[in-house]
Symmetry: C2
Subunit: 372 residues, 2 copies
């Protein structure tokens, strides 16, 4: 395994704050990773993303393998050079999106076969090919093993077989990854909402040994409470000294509750997707800027923010841009939302370091209920 | 009339370079004004626009009067505050877009009546109301008189009556404008491609007296050569000591040829519209980034530019963004194109100051033919 020090600087209950060191820079945890689906965090330049304080972004192997294609991406110098992002990049394995976006996909012991949602072309993704694409073609810093994620709700037998296949694919991923000095490999815990399966999954992952451990199979429709209930038992099963990454999560309240249960890393399309649809996330909850009550509201989204999108434009102007379907509305709200998610993780890091995370969490819950 | 000094610093043939001084800052001429249709230069933040070196932007009265509405805009502090642009703003009168965008419009001696293309609501625009909206509600720095623009080709009698109505509306605009210290009023020459009409129009405008003089009724389908032929006689009819503004123009070659005929100011949606459709304007001509020949082209659009969009991204990446229909593609190409148009006017200013405009023009024509 690579040398990827994870320095936990403070804990407060199960919550922890620290720094995950990579060759391309430090990742302060808890960390939120903006999603750069197809080589771009949607509607934002890399400079805008960097300005929000994001230490790391996520790239989607499924999208990149279809366009521009892994071999072309490698010829162009890899994803960092291609898109101009200088910090670390984590890539998913492609498996989740193969199964959710592709029209037809078929999972066997060997691989997942699928057709492109763009042109219908046939592709096969093995654990080994996923590692090769992420590590050698894309040039990712943190590589995820290929896994099979079941939808919610799942029969226990179905969840068990997907979890065990994922564990075997984890072994194959580790073997394919081999010894790499500057890249990390994360395993993925599966098992749906079943404690015994999550336990078995963790034991298998730990036996294989990874640089970090992700929690997969959540944020697939189970809802906030079921997610929290599952995290209650599944997060502590993962090694305390390595980063824990909750995949595809989530709303601000989801992040706070997951951090309270010992999670360190997150990714989600929510801030950019919401932004493209006129929604701003704030300390007081989400705002639908299209609402007529903002038509003459001269206050900005957050006067105390360093982000120009949060600080320099009135809600009245944002309301106008959203109503007029102007691209600038999508840009500014995506930018603001990413800045808000970064401000939220920064506030959590400070609260944990100060031993005041429970007070922060209580206050956040009061203003930002689970139904927000 | 306001004190709006126009300091012509050098001439080269009919071409001139100078500075038009406004209360909100200097406008270096020849100047290209990016179009901020509905309170935003499409797909760009004001910081991005300012970074290209643009001294002034244009706002569309027609769009702003429909949304957010002139009275609301005034309550919100005017267009500068609303959109965050600190430099000067020129607004059109609304007339051209009433006649081109609105479903139904009817021109009488008194006014133009029309229905909104957004919700079908009825509106009436008089010369006086246009001045009021531009000067008092929007708070524009350079205000255009209401005029009637005929399409091309036009019967001479039709062109004459529209030109004479425009002249009478110019008088009414001047009276409504009154005495204003920090705002300028521009008249608009009409007369289609008819020299006698252009002459009569100019004489009427000069008699009325304006801070600047626009050439209207071109770039309405007559093509590059007919536009140049008309400019040959219509530009010199306007006072040499005041700025001449060719409305709605144009392609880079149009700008160069119009500057050669004594024009000082331009506006056009072309750079942003092209950018949203995958086209980049460069010193070598326009490029369609979607073309497969750019798929592995690692060169930027312009390595010598100060604009990040021109300098920091490969054509291969832009090709990928355009093919993937990513908003960032629209942002970067709009940004690059505005930066290119600013670089073009800056190059013309330097060439005129150095007495080398003819060489510049010859070279530009060779690389950037009229059919580009």
């Amino acid at each position: 395994m690579a040398e990827f020090p994870f320095d936990i600087q403070a804990t407060d209950g199960a919550a922890r704050t620290g720094v995950l060191k990579t060759a391309r820079g430090d990742i302060r945890t808890p960390a939120f990773m903006p999603v750069g689906t197809a080589g771009t965090v949607k509607a934002l330049s890399v400079d805008m993303v960097a300005q929000t304080g994001a230490d790391i972004i996520l790239g989607n192997t499924y999208h990149l393998m279809l366009r521009p294609g892994p071999e072309r991406l490698q010829r162009l110098g890899g994803l960092h050079k291609f898109m101009g992002w200088k910090g670390p990049i984590l890539t998913d394995s492609g498996g989740f999106q193969v199964m959710s976006l592709s029209g037809i996909s078929k999972v066997t012991e060997e691989a997942v076969a699928f057709r492109s949602h763009i042109d219908g072309s046939k592709h096969i993704l093995t654990p080994e090919r996923s590692i090769e694409i992420q590590a050698d073609r894309i040039g990712s810093d943190i590589i995820m093993q290929l896994d099979e994620c079941v939808s919610y709700p799942a029969e226990e037998a179905r969840a068990a077989s997907a979890m065990r296949l994922s564990a075997r694919w984890g072994d194959r991923s580790k073997a394919a990854f081999g010894a790499r000095e500057h890249q990390a490999l994360f395993g993925i815990q599966q098992g749906s909402t079943f404690e015994a399966l999550r336990r078995e999954s963790s034991e298998r992952l730990i036996e294989t040994g990874f640089d970090g451990y992700a929690i997969g199979g959540l944020a697939v429709g189970e809802g906030h409470q079921a997610m929290c209930d599952t995290l209650d038992f599944c997060a502590p099963l993962l090694p305390a000294h390595r980063p824990r990454y909750l995949m595809g999560v989530g709303k601000p309240i989801d992040l706070v509750e997951a951090v309270a249960r010992g999670v360190d890393m997150f990714d989600c399309v929510l801030p950019t997707r919401s932004g493209r649809h006129g929604q701003a996330w704030t300390w007081e909850g989400p705002l639908a800027l299209k609402n007529a009550r903002f038509a003459e509201d001269e206050t900005p989204l957050d006067a105390t923010s360093d982000c120009p999108a949060s600080r320099d434009y009135s809600k009245a102007y944002l309301h106008h841009l959203v109503k007029s379907e102007e691209i600038l509305g999508q840009i500014l709200l995506s930018w603001h939302n990413i800045a808000f998610f970064q401000a939220l993780t920064a506030a959590m890091r400070s609260a944990i370091a100060a031993g005041q995370f429970e007070a922060f969490r209580r206050d956040f819950r009061a203003r930002h209920g689970v139904d927000a």
